[in-house]
């Protein structure tokens, strides 16, 4: 702490900017003060140990993701994540003056209890909805933190540092004060954090409603929607700029408008996107929630938040990319929305009736027993029918009889990246038997049976041959190379998400098993016994 003698101009209490003039030898009788200059909290936060603690926390988060490179190390990874979070929270609590710790602990306990109950009860088929709901919470929390920082910048150390001081007059009176201005850079970061958080929130709420079936999965297309979206985006950018440049008294209406505009654009961005594209949307919102955390990290100068935000942001972006590639769709066209809008129209048109072979569970069981190698291709329909446990029983019986059984998973097999793997893991399918598209596609030529259950578009050869098909270019399984194909399907009507007919139904080596997936597999299991 430095002791200085300052001349304080008369307008000291009203102006955000003080002209301070220092002198060591006050002339007697002049308007002089003895001041304690206070460094702003922003500068106190650069206590190296605190910064180090947040850095360690960030490194633990990196290790958490690194652990997921293999199922064997993944549980340790998850624990690293928990340790990182604990370090961040304890560091924050230990280095701030806390007015009321009880309130804070109650808030953590309430949230924690809700979270744990949800985590325990949620069905694995409902993971996409859960993740979307969780994203919305991160988004909303970012908005709240941004607003709290706006209302109480002093607590966040956002006030311009040289303008915070307390002074002791010679007669003993103490005056203290701080300018109420936040630096323009902090305001841009704050504005972006609030905007991204609000977009994440409203977008995730719509994604949640669509995924959980509380809202129709079909895209809602507003006329001139691209224009509306771009317009709203422009409004957000302009408002952020105005907010950054505005004087302390003019910021409130701007930040309110900014928050509302961001909520609206999150809503507008997701309503035109159809159910089939939800895996991309969930990944994209995952990315946004990361960028929101990063923007808040910039505002607070917090390393843990910045590292985490960057990790989560990249993670979501990469997953969106993987999903787009798996559907052969460009990211832009997904965002532009409208895919799947005419899916119902496709089902309605009259198609030529082509001959197909239908088989029974007994036929299928007989041929599966004779096979040396069986590749199972599960799709979301299997999960809807809850057939995964019966399917695993079938695979176990076949393995006991010496048949090699492998599972082939398409990246879009579930409702979110990796969803099918979780569903199979839940049914206790060992993960060594589960293969990704590119790892197993060459093996169909050696397979005796390709067993398709609840999947459709991912085995459709039209994706390779028919340039007019909406799924053209999407990587698909080469099931036509297998000696025998079993296709479990409820009926011959209803064709996949993309609404296209599938030549696999009519191949010579295909046997259609028309029934509920679970019932059919249970019958096969009975026949195998």
């Amino acid at each position: 702490m430095r002791r200085l003698l300052l001349t304080i101009p008369a307008f000291v209490s009203s102006s955000p900017v003080w002209a301070l003039e220092c002198t060591n030898n006050p002339p007697p009788g002049s308007n002089l003060l003895l001041c304690d200059m206070m460094q702003a909290i922003e500068h106190q936060a650069v206590n190296p140990w605190v910064a180090l603690a947040y850095l360690v926390s960030g490194v633990f988060f990196i290790l958490a993701l690194r652990g997921l490179s293999s199922p064997a190390t993944s549980q340790a990874g998850n624990r690293f994540g928990m340790i990182g979070m604990l370090i961040a929270v304890v560091t924050t609590l230990a280095t701030h003056d806390i007015a009321n710790i009880v309130e804070i602990l109650i808030a953590i306990a309430v949230g924690g209890a809700i979270g744990l109950v949800i985590a325990r009860r949620i069905a694995m088929t409902a993971m996409p909805e859960l993740v979307a709901a969780f994203h919305s919470l991160v988004g909303l929390a970012a908005v709240l933190v941004g607003w709290a920082a706006y209302l109480n910048p002093g607590a966040f150390g956002l006030l311009e540092s040289s303008l915070r001081f307390s002074a002791e007059l010679y007669d003993g009176t103490v005056i203290s004060g701080a300018s109420n201005s936040i630096s323009p850079v902090s305001k841009v970061e704050m504005g972006l954090g609030i905007a991204i958080g609000a977009i994440t929130f409203s977008g995730s709420v719509i994604a949640f409603l669509k995924l959980s079936g509380k809202m129709s999965g079909s895209p809602i297309l507003l006329p001139v929607r691209h224009l509306i979206n771009l317009g709203t985006l422009a409004v957000i950018i302009v408002l952020t700029a105005l907010f950054a440049m505005a004087g302390p008294d003019q910021t409130l209406p701007l930040i309110v408008a900014l928050t509302i505009a961001a909520f609206v654009i999150g809503f507008l961005l997701i309503i035109p996107i159809g159910g089939a594209d939800m895996p991309v949307v969930v990944s994209m919102l995952n990315s946004y929630s990361g960028w929101a955390a990063a923007a808040m990290g910039f505002t607070l100068g917090n390393t843990a938040m910045i590292i985490t935000g960057a990790l989560v942001g990249s993670s979501g972006a990469i997953l969106s990319y993987i999903m787009c590639r798996a559907m052969n769709r460009s990211f832009i066209s997904v965002i532009a929305g409208g895919f799947g809008a005419d899916a119902s129209a496709g089902g309605g048109e009259t198609k030529e009736q082509r001959p197909y072979k239908q088989g029974s569970a007994a036929d299928a069981a007989f041929m599966l027993e004779q096979a040396e190698k069986v590749i199972i291709i599960p799709g979301y329909g299997m999960a809807v029918a809850q057939a995964q446990h019966a399917l695993r029983e079938m695979a176990d019986l076949l393995e006991e009889k010496g048949v090699e059984v492998k599972y082939a998973i398409h990246p879009v097999a579930g409702r979110m990246p990796g969803h099918m793997n979780v569903l199979l893991a839940e049914a206790q399918v060992p993960y060594e038997n589960v293969f990704e598209l590119e790892d197993i596609n060459s093996e169909f030529a050696q397979a005796d049976v390709a067993f398709i259950i609840g999947a459709n578009d991912v085995v459709n050869p039209a994706a390779k041959t028919d340039k007019s098909s909406p799924i053209y270019g999407m990587p698909v399984f080469d099931v036509d190379k297998a000696k025998q194909v079993f296709f479990i399907k409820r009926s011959m009507g209803g064709v996949g998400y993309a609404g296209v007919d599938n030549d696999v139904f009519y191949m010579d080596q295909t046997m259609m098993l028309l029934s509920d997936a679970k019932k059919m597999v249970e019958e096969i299991v009975k026949a195998l016994d």
Binding site: M85, D97, G112, I114, N152, P430, E432
Partner: protein
Amino acid sequence: MDFISILSIFVLACFVGYYVVWSVTPALHTPLMAVTNAISSVIIVGALIAAAAADVPGAKWLGLLGIVLASINIFGGFAVTARMLAMYKKKEKK
């Protein structure tokens, strides 16, 4: 910390994230999303700071609400990830 130091950390962390996430096996992409969800709730740090300071009541209540939301995510996210990861089993040796 000055803006450039923060930006440096951010840019480098983006690269770390890029390479770390590509090394995640596709079989674990759903747990990856659940755990990234949990860790992005490190935003609770901001909520704690807001809730700790009592001088502006509005900011304090926003902070407390933020703590509740982020806690749902932290506890829920890590717990559901742990639940999923526990299901990934190797083949039993017979």
